[in-house]
Every structure is written in structure tokens, then in C-alpha cells.
Symmetry: C2
Subunit: 456 residues, 2 copies
């Protein structure tokens, strides 16, 4: 890939000089021969003045293909739009795949949305208006309306004819959807099947009638799961009466999978890992809300220990093991949390198996607790020549780990039941909460055995 990269950079240099020399013909030719992603990379490397030249050299349609690719990642899209003439921008938005255009519209303020929509063909503007209504994270919000649909009673030859005509506009031509006169989805045929079948065969004979489809309100995560299971390149989206509304394509699903993974990962860490700020102040200001919230939760733990200060001043040895117990229970709770969040995300039926998972985590907590507790009992007993103290630490460890495992699995599930993202129950939150319960358990057990381990 390194050669590709070098070649590409040389190409970029050449393009830039053609742009500055007003070498319209060569620039257009060399620009268009690049992959649209590379066109995007080039465009993004330009300054405002150079971009103005691009707008005068390239048609809105030519730029639309490139914007289909860059809209996902680029926060400057709004700026790019504002520097184009409004008409040019509206034409370009019209030429983009509707799902990508809708992504851009979702970032704009209402005034701009109205402006661009008013400059677009009414039919197209309506299509976009409709898509803008779908809730975030549903199949409707990621689908596109540029698909190919045909009726069943025609031959493969005539279907291919339709396909050739639509190939320029459709986001994918590799599946053709078959509908009845009411636009209800009744079948699907892949381009592969169209090609290997005889031209005179009827579409109804070769199409698959068991079409797998999703509803427009389905969660995008569930849609992603169907792509994983069935290895599709696209899936049709219908309303609740089977009318075909759009398709979701695999490239959008990859974005969904990436976003979900980043959000789970961010949740576990208690920080948005997609922060791109290089500026430490901005970066800190994103992380501080969690840290300060948890600091106050941590203060509860501190005041709990404060409550037991008399105990500690009599037996300062107790202070030695506070961080060991809270730390180990926190580690166990984090493991438990991660397993639970993952299992909730992967389970098809979200209502079943919750009880079993929780009992499983409590038992796992007991087993890990017992092993860890026994280990620390022996270590402390030998180290301090005090097996009563060892017993106190060990018992506290068993209880603290079990409770941490319960919290780690129960909290994300309750959040899921309440309709929140279970990944929001972050690792730092679980460890800070488990600090509190661990200290409570530890000092209560220590109080009980106080006489014995101090005496020995």
C-alpha cells in the first residue's frame, strides 16, 4: 500500500499544479480517473481558494459522487456547502444518494435545510423530507431510496433492460426487488441469477420468494446483525404493510458496526474515544464531567471510611488493604460488566435469559471470590502472622467480588430495561460504585472480628 500512497501523492501534486495553471482539460481528466475516495482526499487537502476553482471546473453531479464518500467523516461539509453558490450546492445534494444527502441535512440548521430543499426539484425534496422524519438509529434513517424494483411478469431480458437504465442512479444493482402492483415486496433476484439464467425465462420463475427484509422502524443494530448472519450486500426496507420503501447497503452497515463498537468501547472507558481534539483543554473538558461526577460518588466512599475512622485509628493495619479489596472487586466488576453488555448486545431476544445471566454472574463472582479470597487469606496470614486478619480480608474479598459481579451485570440490564444504552453504565462508574460497597463490606466484617485480629 505504500507504493499506492506515494503514487497518489505525486498525482495530488500534479493535480494541484494543473488547478493553479487553470489547466481545465487535464485537471478534469486526471481528477476523474481517481477513485472517488481519493478525489475526496485531494479535495480535502485544498484551501478555500483552490476549492472555488474545483467548483468552477466540476459539475455538481461530478462532485456529488465524491461527497457521497466524504460526508461520513468530514466535519467541514457544512463549510464546503456554504462556500458554494446555493444553487450549485442544492444540485449537488440532489445528485447524491438520498441516504448520504439526508446525513448532511441532519447536520445543518433548519434555515439551511429549508433553503436547499426549496432549490431542489419538488419530487426529490419530498423524498428527502420523508427520510428526515425517521428516527435516529433505525433502518429508516440509514436506508436509501435509489434501488431497482420491477414487476414479476416479465422476462429476464426485459429485467436486464430496466437494470441497465437504472444502473447509473441506483446505489446497488446487484439485487433487484420484485414488487406487486401495490408496491408490496414479493421477491428478490440477484444480478448473478439474472446473468446465469436464460434471457427468455420469466422473472417470477427465478426470483426468490422468501425475501428477507427489515421494517423501517427496526433498530440499526438488529439490521447489522442480519447482514452478519446472511452475508447480504443489501437488504430491503418495508413499512408494516410490506410496501417497499428503500434499501440498506453493506457500506452503511460497516459504519453502523463501527459506531456501535466505538460507543460500547467509549462506555466501558467513560470517555468518548472518538474525540479528535488535539487541544488538551478541550480534551479535558470532555472527560471532566464523568470524573467530577465519579469524584462525588467517591466522596461517599471517603465519608464511609471517615465513619470508621475510630476503627482505623485503633487498627491502622486495616488501611493497608483498602485499595487491594476495592481494586480487586473493581476489576471483577469491570469483567462482569463487559460480559453483560456484550451479551445484551448479542442476544436476539432481549427479554429472556436475564435472570440466568445474573445468577450466572453471582455464581461466577462467588467462585472467583472464593479463589481470590483463599489466596489473600494465605498471603496475609503468612505475611502478617495473623490468620484472623487474613480471614477478615479474605471474607471481605469474597463478598466484595460477588457484589461487584452482581452490580456489573445487573446495572446494564436494568438500564436496557429502562430503555437506556446499557453501555452507558461505564467501567469507571461500576468500579467507583464497587469501591463504596467493598468498603462497606470490609469495615463491617472487620468490626465483627476486631477483638480477635488485634489481640492475636
Amino acid at each position: 500500500m505504500d507504493e499506492n500512497q506515494e503514487e497518489l501523492e505525486a498525482h495530488f501534486l500534479q493535480l494541484k499544479s494543473e488547478l493553479q495553471k487553470n489547466d481545465l482539460q487535464d485537471f478534469r481528466e486526471h481528477f476523474l480517473e481517481m477513485h472517488i475516495y481519493d478525489q475526496g482526499q485531494f479535495y480535502q487537502s485544498l484551501d478555500g481558494e483552490e476549492r472555488q476553482l474545483v467548483y468552477s471546473y466540476m459539475s455538481p453531479k461530478e462532485l456529488a459522487d465524491m461527497f457521497d464518500v466524504i460526508e461520513e467523516d468530514d466535519e467541514h461539509v457544512e463549510e464546503y456547502l456554504s462556500e458554494m453558490r446555493p444553487r450549485y450546492a442544492a444540485d449537488m445534494l440532489s445528485e447524491m444518494y438520498t441516504d448520504n444527502a439526508v446525513d448532511i441535512f441532519n447536520e445543518l440548521d433548519k434555515k439551511q435545510v429549508a433553503k436547499y430543499l426549496s432549490l431542489m426539484e419538488p419530487e426529490h425534496a419530498n423524498e428527502i423530507r420523508e427520510l428526515l422524519h425517521y428516527e435516529d438509529d433505525t433502518a429508516g434513517s440509514i436506508m436509501t431510496t435509489e434501488f431497482v424494483s420491477i414487476v414479476a411478469n416479465q422476462t429476464v431480458r426485459s429485467a436486464m433492460y430496466v437494470l441497465k437504465k437504472e444502473a447509473q442512479i441506483a446505489e446497488t444493482i446487484y439485487y433487484t426487488y420484485v414488487v406487486n402492483t401495490e408496491n408490496q415486496l414479493v421477491g428478490v433476484i440477484s444480478l448473478r441469477d439474472l446473468i446465469i439464467n436464460d434471457d427468455d425465462t420469466m422473472v417470477s420463475e427465478v426470483m426468490s420468494e422468501r425475501v428477507i427484509s427489515v421494517h423501517v422502524g427496526d433498530d440499526q443494530e438488529d439490521v447489522a446483525q442480519m447482514f452478519r448472519d446472511y452475508d447480504f450486500l443489501a437488504l430491503p426496507v418495508t413499512d408494516y404493510e410490506d410496501h417497499l420503501l428503500g434499501i440498506v447497503t453493506v457500506d452503511d452497515i460497516i459504519d453502523v458496526i463501527d459506531d456501535e463498537a466505538a460507543s460500547d468501547y467509549s462506555g466501558l472507558a467513560g470517555v468518548n474515544v472518538e474525540e479528535v481534539d488535539e487541544n488538551p483543554i478541550k480534551s479535558a473538558s470532555r472527560r471532566l464531567p464523568w470524573l467530577i461526577t465519579l469524584l462525588f460518588l467517591g466522596m461517599t466512599t471517603a465519608s464511609l471510611i471517615n465513619h470508621y475512622e475510630a476503627l482505623v485509628s485503633k487498627a491502622s493495619i486495616l488501611a493497608v488493604f483498602i485499595s487491594l479489596i476495592t481494586g480487586t472487586a473493581g476489576n471483577a466488576g469491570t469483567q462482569s460488566l463487559a460480559v453483560a453488555v456484550r451479551r445484551i448486545a448479542m442476544s436476539d431476544d432481549k427479554d429472556s435469559g436475564f435472570g440466568r445471566l445474573i445468577i450466572g454472574e453471582i455464581l461466577t463472582g462467588l467462585v472467583t471470590g472464593l479463589v481470590t479470597g483463599a489466596t489473600i487469606f494465605i498471603i496475609v496470614g503468612i505475611w502478617k502472622h495473623n490468620f484472623v486478619l487474613g480471614f477478615v480480608i479474605g471474607t471481605a474479598m469474597v463478598a466484595a467480588i460477588t457484589v461487584a459481579n452482581l452490580a456489573g451485570s445487573l446495572i446494564p440490564m436494568v438500564m436496557e430495561k429502562l430503555g437506556f444504552d446499557p453501555a452507558v453504565a461505564s467501567g469507571p462508574f461500576i468500579t467507583t460504585l464497587s469501591d463504596l460497597t467493598s468498603v462497606l463490606i470490609y469495615f463491617n466484617i472487620a468490626s465483627l472480628f476486631m477483638e480477635h485480629f488485634i489481640g492475636s
Copy 2:
């Protein structure tokens, strides 16, 4: 999707009864009309005796399509193979896409690999043998050899003719790769372009000569990144002299993305989240190695506190804030770790920007530390009517958070440099390590100011 599910279950029941009634004709018809993923779901729901009936009703080729889908997730594939006659199993493996067959071979022991390879056509066995040589997690290890390649000096019509012939075997026909007489990759043409161009056009005129390809030894994560960037459905894989060896398809890339996400997530939690054990003992035995290792690291912290026991017994108030300082620093370290791991994974050039990231994290640590430290200074000062104590806790907080941020970003980077997966530096490891440094910082600062805050 719920209707789909019910319909499917009814279909499964019907199939089972046909199977048990030896209703060969109906079973075959109804089995084959299902999507191969659903076939797999049905097959996996059968017991050993019923599976034997399936092997006698279906040809190895028919079963191969289904195995292409189930091999990813099913740990019982080895068992399934062993219950088939060896010849049948070998035929089925031959009919599978080579990348999937190779995945299965990778799970088998050497004796079985040799057995099945000896029963396969020599040519096919050699192909698989070659693919088995590629290192894990490289483009070579996930590519398939069932692609369509043609030479440039022919018409679109004759290219389509080749395509139709290969459509039954090839994993994707949506890209056709153009090679020269030395089998070096010189171009690519999508099926879309073949369809919209005139039949008499020469392939060389319509193919794209800027083919984007990967090398056989490239990391699969980098390959996944190219799919994300370019929205490809497949990418060609070449050796270092541009000879076309295979293709990677988007469905395999989704698996790569899922695996990488699960491994990052597991790393952060210090547990393999893909554990599927329902058995608490097994589940505990997977988590204990980390917990016990960290317990010993935690013992270092305990013995450090033990070293300061005299200090604590003089000022037991110090014990109150141990968990607050270690906890907050641990939270900050986890945030820092997650940001660093993510940034390492996303950066194209792994060598640059390390210094900048680390300095950034230290500065972010300082800012978050200062804000958190100031907050706790005020809280403790007011709560305990002791601003010297507040100053000690606050200062310790600033230092502990800064060090935790440094550790959280530095450790994954060093691991990356040393060639380990940076995600192995797990969250629990960072928090446990940061417990140690935090306690060290805390007691040293406390010792310095001992006289002052005890007196006041």
C-alpha cells in the same frame, strides 16, 4: 422480523417431520428453498441421528453452501465433520469457498488435515495447502481464490461470457479483475460497468487501470480500513510483484471488524467477552488468571501502604482518602488508555504522532488533575475544616491523575512498538498500576506536610 421468525419456526417443524418420515423429495425441496443461513440454523438444531439423515439426503455440494455460512460461529464443525464419511467430508470441503475451508482446516489437528487433503483433488488440495501457510490476521489468511479474472484484449461480450461460466463458482462476480499474460493485475471492471457498456467495447477501454489492491502480507485491520474508506465489496490481493493471488470480500471484512472490536473491548475489560460458557466454574477460570495476577500487583500497593503504617496510625484521616485518590486516578487512566488504544488503531502511520499524543495526554492529565484537585481541595477543606489536608489531597490528586494519564497512553504505545497488541494493556491493569503510583504519591506528599495538617 418477528413474523419472519415465526414463519421460519413453522418451516423448521415441517422439515423435521419430513426428515423423520423419510420424505426425501419434500425435504430436499423445502430445505433448498431456504436461505443458506436458515439452512444452517435448521441443521444446527438437529441431533446426531437426524444429521445422519441429512448427509444421506443432501449432496456434499449442497451442504457446502450451508457450511460456508455456519463455519464462522459454530464450534461443533469438527464434530460434524467427524460424523460424516471421510470422503463425503472431503468432497464438501472441496466445494466450499477456499477461504472458509481454510478457516475450518485451521481448527483441525494435523492428522485430520492430512486425511482430508489426501482425499481431495490434488489441485484443490494444493490451493488449500498454500492458503494455510499465510500468517494469521493477514490479507492472505482471509482471502479466497474463487475470483474472476480475464485478459484485457477482448470485448465486453466475451467478458460477460466468461463471467456467466464462472458465476456458479466465484465468490463474487461483481468485480472482474484484468490481468496480463504474466497474471499481473492491470485493471478492474465492475459488473455494473460491463452491463452499461456496449457489448462490442473492448475491456481495455472501459476497465479502470488505477486498481486499488492489497499485499498478501498486509494486516487485516489495514485491509478493513480500505474497505471503510473506499466502500468496496471486494479487494484484490497480490504478491509483491503484482501477481493476482486472491480476493477479500466484504462479508469477511465484517467478521474482521467484529473480531477487532471484541478484542479491543475485551482488552479494556481484562476479560474475553466472547466467552460463551454458561458454567460459572469455567467462566471463573477464564477470569481468574487476570484477577490473581492483578491481586499480586495490588499486594505491592498494600505493602507500600504497610510501609507507611506509622504515618497512618498517627493520622488515620489519611486512610479516608486512599480509595478516593486511587479511584479517581484509575478512572482518568482508563479514559486515557481507551483514547490511546483507539488512536493507535485508527492512525495510518503508526510511527508518527506518538510523542504528540503522549504530551497531549500529560497536558490533559494536568488540566483534569488541576480541576479535580481544586474541587477536592475545597470539599475537604470545608468538610474537615482543614485546608492543609485539602491541599495535600488536592496536590496528590493532580500528580496521581497526571501519572495515570501518562501510564494510560504510554503503556499501550510501548506495547505497540514492541509488537504486542496495545489492547492487551487492559483497563484493570492500568487501574491497578495506577493504584500503586497514586498511593506512592499520596503518602509522600502527606509525609511532607504531616506536621502542618495534623496540627491545624
